[in-house]
Structure formats: C-alpha cells, structure tokens
C-alpha cells in the first residue's frame, strides 16, 4: 500500500478552505442514521463527540474512567497556544505555523501544521463562549504568557489548570448532547479491539470494567482519541490509567504506526523519590518564564543552595542559549539537564536533579505577583516534596511526558484502515519530532471541534456502507479472541506481579530509548524486550477473576501491549540514524552537542505496518516536502 496523505493542492493558506468546499456533505436529515463510535473523552474525544452530536449524528462515546471529565487532559497545567496576536508582539498564523514546524525539528507535515495554526484562533473563541474562565488582565482582556520555543506571548491559560478548564468546557458541551440524546455515554469501558468488516472499521469490542463482561458496539465509523503511549515507560507524567491498548490493537488490525520513537521528555518534573514511585509530577513549563535553571559549577558540590555564591553557579541554559535562555524548547532543556547531571553536577540526594530558582523573580516582581502566577504550583511542589520553594529552589529533573508518534493519519485524520479516524495525542500528525509547550491542547481541540466534523462527513457521504450489527460473525470472532487473551493471563499464575514487569520494561525504555539513544543500546533493547515479553507471558501473576471489577487484570492487558509497542519504539529509533527533536542519536550531533538532522536520508514519516508478532514490521515512508519553511539547523542560541 502506498501512503497517500491526501494533502490538498494549491497555496498552503487556501488548502483547508478549498478542501472544506470540495468535501461531500451528509444531508442534515440523514445524519442521525449514522452511528459514530468515539473512544476517549479527553479534549480530542469530548470535543469531537459533542460537535458530532450537535450536527445530528448518533454518537456513542467510551472512556475508562467513571466520568468523561476525568480523562487525562484534565491534568494539563500550562496553557493553550493560539495565534490571536492580542499582545501585538508580532504573532500571526504564519509565525505559529513556522514555530511549530521548526520546534518539531522539520519532521511534521506542513499542511497539517498550517491548518492547526489557522484553527487555533477559533478554539479560543469557542472556549470563551462556553464559559472557560481564562486568565484576564485588569482591563478585562484575555491574558497571555510565553512558553518554551516561542518568542511571542501566545499562550492562553486558566491559572495552572488550563487542561481542566478546557476539558470541563468540552465535557459540558458533551453532557448537553447527552441530554439532547444525540450522544450516549459508556464510562468504565475499555476498548480491547477493533472490528474491521469489508476492509472498513465498523465497531469495537470493549470490556465493561464493573462486571467484566465483553460488549460489542457497531457503527459506521470509529474515532480513536485515547491519548498517547507514554505510560510504556512506567514512570511518566501521565495518569496511571493512560494506556496504548486502543491504538496498539488498531495497529494490529492494520493501522500503520507512525514515528513511534518520537517521544517527549519534559524538563521540569519533580525528581524520583524512591522505588515506591508510581508516577511523576510535572511542574508546569510556565515556571521557566520566571524561574532560573542552574547547577553548581564544581562537581559533587554538596553545599546547600543558599551557601553557593552567585559566581559558583552555572545558569547553563542562559549561558549556552543567550537568546532563548531558560525558554529553550523541551528537548533542548531536558538534554542539557541530563548532560550536567552526567557530568556529576546534579543536585539533591540522588544527584539526578537541577535547581529551578525563583529568588530573583521574587525580588524583581514581588511575592504577590509570583503567588498569583505560580502559587498553586508552589503548593503542589511542597505537598509532594515537603520542601518550600519560597525558601529553597525547586529541584527538577526530566520525565517522560508526551508521545509525538502515534497512528498514521492522512490530512482528513483517517488511518490506513478506512473509517478509522484518530485524533489528539493518539495520532502522529502535527508535532514532528518535538512538541512545543501548549500545543497539545490546541491540537486535540482543533482535531475534535474543527477538523473531524468536516472530514468524517466527507468519508460517510463518499462511502457505501453495508448494514452491520453486532451479531455479525466478525464481532463474535474478535470478542472470543479478546476473551481468550484474558483467560490466558489469568491462568498463568506465575511469580511476578504485572507492576514488576512494567517497571522493568519502563527502565529499559528510559535507559535505551530515552533522552539519548545509540546503536549499541538500541540493539540491546531489541533483544532484551522480547525476552522480557516471553517471561511476562510465562511468569505473570494476575489475581482475581475476569467477571469482576479487577484492576490488576486491566493493567495486565495494558502491559502486554507495552511489551510489544516498546519493541517497535526501539526498532524505529534504531532505523532513524539521525538526531531530530526528542530523538537524539548520540552518533549524530553537531560539534557543540546539538541534534544533527540528516535531511537527505530521513526527511520522511516512518509508518510501520504490523506483520505478526514474530516477523519484523514493514516500513513505509511518507516523504516530507517543505515548500513554505526553509529547512535549517534548529538554533536557539
């Protein structure tokens, strides 16, 4: 199969408008005859389900949590980008487009990114109309902050709870459609497989997490908005139930997986405190606006931070990147933190941390301003660490955070399985090899509110769909396969808990497919991961029964999928012998240690086709053409 991204022709500024005009429409009276399955109720899924319900489609929506409002998007802190240029500081759609392509280290699709920048302005309008209480200036106008990788102030925010407020906006819109009976909610359901009939996505099989029953749902199209696969690393900033199961099982049914090795390690997280650690907590990137990052100049300096004089501190980001300073993009900030810790200049008990210091900002802006901007983050830091950031600098270290890779989609957000659409963090489309801060919320809502409502209509209007119900043999077959896997996991009764396996796998990914990667390590991972997977299937210990609420069993299924996806991540990382964005291959760096791309050989999207567990996947390449942005060595000096 050749990959056709279906990018419209013509100048980039007109593509989306032209495409919208050329799309086929579904007659309003016919919309309710179409059933659309939406899996996931984060920003992408909730906004899609609500908008499709408003249009009159019959929508069924699924999530793992007990309420759609609890999707992982709720945890986003810092903000959402939009090219409103309310600050008159030179922002524009073109600049947001340019910053995003550059920030992604020239590994994203121009057309998608341009559309994202265009739509960004509509998102803010929509959210304000829904009652999202964005931060305001005294005069009543919307307030903005700047975020890493940008030199303009284009990030809209609601205190440190932007994701929560945006999701509550989408959730309210969704509940309104529940009330209007266009949307039916299915909470506490986990999608365990996709049903493909006649080559098209026609339904899903889910496990009811309360009683363990298998349930099947049929539809005319399926939308996957289940988030990223960062939890494969065990420790990450993601919620503990975030998982890769839905996308991975779609992949095994024929959806290509794009750029699995593009993962983002966030520079400002609270460091690991011990073996008991179940997740890591992000300290919003917004903190880098006023906080200064430093380590002691000498190695192994055990003095308290207050005892280290100014002259013996190394503000290494300000020193190395004078024009962006503490606001360099995430991949650059993370790598630099790792480098100074590897040199033996890290701080804290483990030596795996750097300081994020607010002393100067407090002096310059006053306690009141700092409290207003960051008070809740300071409280959160103190709750977790028992240390007060008003008195001592925060200690931070990078942690796994976001996955740029995901299921391959075309310009219409459709995967390689007709009818299967993928939105939000679950797809690969807009962030290239590194995502800029405040751009995931933007993308999730762009996909859900403003892209899919158009493109799915075009798909439905242009496709002939036979009538399919859940008594079709294919539903029965898929459900029994899923059930057999569950029975197998329960029957092993081995000696190691699923959590132990997950932690071991996560350690391998962190060490070999983490902030710095090399051929030797990746080759090692490609041997070690399948071995661990084999042990997992012989020695896992899963308590309880299938016909019951059983979180250990849920986790076992997810870890089984991480065991497979981890191998693909390592394989992709090995094949991409260049550095780009978050994918740093040690063999490919500039003289001063920055990521060195190899545009001649790697300017493409790597889309992997599943080929059975014991066969290597097949690589398909979607060439990336840059007609509007000139490729250059990314520099933040």
């Amino acid at each position: 199969m050749t990959l056709d991204a279906k990018i419209p022709s013509g100048p980039i500024q007109d593509m989306w408008d032209k495409h919208k005009f050329e799309m086929k429409l579904v007659n309003p009276a016919n919309k309710r005859k179409y059933t659309i399955i939406v899996v996931g109720t984060g920003l992408a899924g909730a906004s899609a389900a609500a908008s499709l319900g408003e249009l009159g489609y019959n929508v069924k929506t699924f999530c793992i949590q007990d309420s759609p409002r609890r999707a992982h998007s709720i945890a986003a802190q810092g903000g959402i980008n939009a090219a409103k240029n309310y600050q008159n500081d030179g922002d524009s759609i073109w600049r947001l487009f340019y910053d995003t392509v550059k920030g992604g280290d020239y590994r994203s699709r121009e057309a998608n990114v341009y559309r994202l920048a265009q739509i960004s302005v509509n998102i803010i309008d929509q959210c304000v109309a829904q009652g999202v209480p964005f931060a305001r200036e005294y005069g009543g106008l919307l307030s903005n902050r700047s975020f890493g990788g940008a030199q303009v102030s284009r990030t809209f925010y609601a205190r440190g709870q932007t994701g929560q407020q945006l999701l509550l906006g989408a959730y309210s819109a969704l509940q309104r459609q529940v009330d209007a009976k266009t949307v039916t909610l299915y909470p506490r359901r986990e999608m365990l497989d996709l049903v493909v009939i006649g080559g098209k996505a026609r339904g899903i099989v889910v496990r009811n997490l309360i009683n363990g029953q298998m349930e099947s749902y049929a539809g005319d199209a399926v939308i996957i908005a289940t988030g990223g696969y960062g939890t494969a690393y065990y420790l990450s900033t993601n919620a503990v139930n975030s998982n890769a199961t839905a996308i991975w099982r779609c992949h095994k049914r024929g959806a290509y997986f794009a750029n699995p090795c593009y993962t983002q390690i966030h520079p400002t997280c609270i460091p690991v405190s011990g073996q008991h650690q179940s997740k890591l907590t992000l300290m919003s990137e917004g903190l880098r606006n006023d906080g200064r990052v430093w380590v002691p100049q000498p190695k192994g300096d055990k003095r308290r931070p207050s005892e280290i004089p100014e002259a013996e501190r190394d503000y290494y980001l300000e020193r190395r990147y004078p024009s962006f300073g503490n606001l360099v993009p995430r991949d650059v900030a993370s790598r630099n933190a790792k480098a100074v810790c590897d040199e033996g200049r890290g701080v804290g008990e483990t030596g795996l941390a750097v300081y994020l210091d607010f002393a100067d900002a407090i002096k310059r802006l006053g306690e009141k301003t700092i409290d207003e901007k960051y008070g809740n983050l300071f409280d959160m830091y103190e709750r977790i660490t028992g240390e007060n950031p008003w008195d001592v600098p925060m200690r931070i270290y990078p942690a796994m955070h976001y996955t740029m890779g995901g299921l391959w989609v075309d310009y219409n957000l459709m995967s390689t399985i007709p009818g299967l659409h993928v939105l939000g963090e679950a797809n690969f489309s807009d962030h290239g090899a590194n995502r800029l801060g405040a751009s995931a919320l933007m993308q999730g809502l762009a996909d859900g509110y403003f892209v899919i409502p158009y493109t799915i209509g075009d798909y439905l209007a242009g496709t002939s769909l036979e009538k399919v119900a859940t008594d079709h043999v294919e539903f029965k077959r898929v459900a029994s396969e899923v059930q057999a896997d569950i029975a197998r996991m329960l029957s092993i009764k081995g000696a190691k808990t699923v959590g132990e396996f997950h932690r071991t796998l996560g350690g391998m990914l962190w060490d070999y497919v983490g902030m710095a990667r090399n051929e030797k390590g990746l080759k090692h991972a490609l041997e070690a991961i399948p071995r661990l997977r084999e042990e997992f299937w012989q020695n896992m210990m899963v308590p309880g029964r299938a016909e019951d609420l059983n979180k250990s069993l849920e986790m076992a299924g997810r870890v089984a999928d991480y065991m497979e996806i981890a191998e693909l991540m390592a394989r992709d990382a090995l094949h991409r012998a260049e550095s780009c964005g978050g994918h740093f291959r040690e063999e490919s760096q500039t003289a001063d240690g920055e990521a060195q791309r190899d545009d001649k050989h790697f300017s493409y999207v790597a889309a992997w086709e599943y080929n059975g567990l014991n066969n290597p996947p097949v690589l398909h390449k979607e060439p990336l053409l840059f007609e509007n942005v000139k490729l250059s060595q990314r520099s933040y000096k």
């Binding site: 908008s51 949590q65 309210s172 509940q175 529940v178 919620a239 403003f450 250990s552």
Partner: protein, 249 residues
Amino acid sequence: MTKPMTLYLSIWRQPNAKTPGKLIQYTVTDVSPAMSFLEMLDQLNRDLVRKGETPIEFDSDCREGICGTCGLVVNGIAHGPERATTVCQLHMRHFKDGDAITIEPWRAKAFPIVKDLVVDRGAFDRIVASGGYISVNTGAAPDAAAILISKEMADLAMDAAACIGCGACVAACPNASASLFVGAFLSKFALLPQGQPERKQRAQRMVSQMDAEGFGGCSNIGECEAVCPKEISLSTIARMRRDLWKALF
C-alpha cells in the same frame, strides 16, 4: 532518609453492591515517609497479590489532585487529615510509625458502592447533563476579545470552576448533600456574562436533578467546605439558593 514505618490498617472490603461489606485488618510494613497514601496502598496490594490474596480495589488516575478520581475516607475524614489535599496527594510523612488508620469509601445513597473502596458517582454526570452548560454550538462563537470580563470576576469564576467533582463534599455531609458541587458548577457560569441567558433555568434544572438522584438537602453545616480539596467556598451554595429563588418568582 527517615526510617520506614509500620502501619495498622482497617480497610472496608465489599465484593459488590449487593453483598454486605466489613472492615478487615491489615499490617503494612516498610512505608517510606516520601510515599503518597495511594503508593502505600499499592505496596499493600503488591504484598497481597504475592500472598495469593485479592488486592483492595480503589480508584485513582492522575495522582496529582486534579482529576477527582480518587476518594477515600481516612480516619473518618474525606481525603484524610491534610487541608486542601486529595488523598492521592496526601503523603505518608504526615503519619507516624505504629499509627492505626481506618480507610473507607465515600458513603452516600446516591453513590452506591461498586467494590471495596470504589463507588459509582454517575449521579454527578447526570446532574451536569440536566443543565450544566452554556448552549453554544461549535463554530457559533464570537471573537474571544468581544467579551470583556474583569479580572476580579474571572478570578472568582475560576475559584468556583476549580471543583474536581470528587464527591468529598457529599461524603463529608451528614445529609449527603451535593450542594457544594452543584453550587460550584452553577457559580462558575453565574459569575460570567456568557452564563447569564440560561442562569435561572440552569439552577432550576440542576437542583431538581440533584434531588431526583437522592442527595440530601443542605442545612448549612459546612463539613463540605472543610474537606474540599479545592477549597470551594460555601458562598457558592448561597448563590445557588438566590438563583433558585429568583427562578421561582
């Protein structure tokens, strides 16, 4: 590092909604003060699984105090002893070696127990569906800058909007009232110009759905405010009452 603790736990176990439950005793050792309360339970569960016993089911997701999924009554207090802290953000450094801790689920007629410490809070979603929104379709919004909102009002709306829908207010209230949850939801809209057109009917609908779900009435006891991890103010309930009253006359 401070030395690890041993704790004596009494935990509510209940196989499902229909079978009665009871408190069971467990001893958990090697608890580090840096652990969160839920990580302490993770450790207990790991030990139970290794011994071939059924682990204790409890809900959690973000583990950073924002999703509202977790919820345990710790020694009689919803979310435990720390002010403005969800139980997932409660850390073991607030306990001492040898402490006895009782752990129970939210208890309210409108929140039936699913299993062990897991309850069904679907009633909250149904209350929101009854009117907790501004009726604006996608694409129908005016430019965001067209509406000016004073910083003061935006901040007040944000205070109310900070509710995470965990249900601690219900669990703490002797009447099992959901008034703080509903008051907060109504207030975030009532404080903004966008929320005005539907203000009265929103209050009426949400309150009548709250009653239909079997939540109790509010008699100004204030336990809800005391346990709320986001410190939602009782004044949101007063605003709800005023709006309801205006809707009736």
